[in-house]
């Protein structure tokens, strides 16, 4: 098995673990973006450029952005209380 695939798989597994272990949601957003990138790289290595593009556009850009917005909304709420 090519080392590249093993490395990409391992990276995806590790960044996944990182998401779970980062208990602070604000910092978890970075883990999410990192995981998105790792998965994107994995998909490129697995000869799936279409999926990789989709993964990177969605899970390293849009999803973290939504998380940021959600956390901001929560912070503003907190302030109001």
């Amino acid at each position: 098995m090519s080392a590249l695939i093993v490395a990409a798989l391992a990276l995806a597994a590790l960044t996944g673990l990182l998401i779970v272990l980062t208990r602070d949601p604000k910092r978890q957003i970075f883990a999410l973006a990192a995981n998105g990138l790792a998965l994107g790289a994995l998909f490129f290595v697995l000869q799936a450029p279409d999926v990789a593009l989709s993964e990177i556009a969605v899970n390293t850009a849009v999803t973290p952005l939504l998380f940021v917005a959600a956390m901001a909304a929560v912070a503003i709420n907190e302030m109001r209380r």
Binding site: M1, D50, V58, L65, A69, A72, A75
Partner: protein, 258 residues
């Protein structure tokens, strides 16, 4: 159940699952040697049958277009749901200003920022359109292009500030894009029925291999998806940003009769 007990329960279940997972993993076709003939058949048949080079797009927009219609509607459904849940509590006013956490400095945008954002927003939008257009030829397509195009709206927010951004990006326009794209897709799927062919039959001319507008119906479907995904994600981002604006007097409905 207390947390430790829950973990014990989960651990027990996962331990039971370990041999099963191992069993399945050992029995699967070895990695890199798939036995499925469906994919190779697509690769062999579709380039000649539909004059397209991107097989993923061919599967998504033609052979399994019905799935994509369902997925598209799912996207519309999820976004509509999110919008209902946000607007339901907030109403549809759009006069408020951006929210601000006290104690954090507000920096005025420099002209350079505005300029850079305008340029990059335009470029991102163009890139999204480019990606979508080349969907049937090279990697990309309506889904990816739509997401990229929608994210260009966020750059506008960075550059123009909340008010100007709200003036440019209209919720209703996004609604129309989202619903309209999906509606056109459904119509495009149904049109062949009228002439007595199965739904989603590719009745348009296929064009030339490697040509931008190759694939017949695929081009239409791709375009519908681009519209709808742009609208959906634009709307989603819009509504999420609305949540972070300064809360004026948000009503919380179920507190009323308590």
């Amino acid at each position: 159940m207390t947390a430790p007990w829950r973990l014990v329960l989960l651990a027990a279940a996962l331990i039971v699952l370990v041999p099963s997972v191992w069993h399945v993993a050992a029995a699967l076709p070895p990695f890199g040697h798939p036995s499925a003939q469906y994919g190779p058949a697509i690769n062999a048949i579709l380039p000649a049958a539909r004059h397209v080079t991107n097989m993923v797009a061919a599967v998504n927009f033609d052979v399994r277009g019905f799935d994509t219609l369902g997925e598209e509607c799912m996207l519309v459904c999820a976004v509509t749901g999110a919008v209902v849940l946000l607007r339901g509590a907030r109403g549809e006013r759009d006069e408020a200003r951006a929210g601000h956490v006290p104690g954090r400095a507000v920096l005025a945008r420099s002209d350079a920022t505005v300029l850079v954002c305008r340029i990059t927003a335009t470029l991102t939008l163009l890139f999204g359109v480019y990606m979508a257009l080349h969907g049937t030829v090279t990697p990309g397509g309506g889904f990816q292009g739509g997401v990229v195009a929608a994210s260009s709206f966020m750059l506008l927010y960075l550059g123009e500030g909340y008010r100007a951004w709200r003036r440019i990006i209209r919720g209703r326009a996004m609604d129309a894009l989202e619903g309209g794209g999906a509606f056109l897709f459904a119509v495009a799927a149904a049109v062949p029925l009228v002439i007595g062919r199965p739904a989603l039959t590719n009745v348009l001319p296929f064009g030339q291999l490697k040509d931008l507008f190759s694939g017949g119906l695929m081009v239409v479907v791709n375009f519908c998806i681009f519209l709808s995904v742009t609208g959906s994600f634009g709307l989603l981002l819009l509504e999420f940003m609305e949540e972070t604006r300064s809360p004026a007097e948000d009503s919380v409905p179920d507190e009323a009769d308590r």
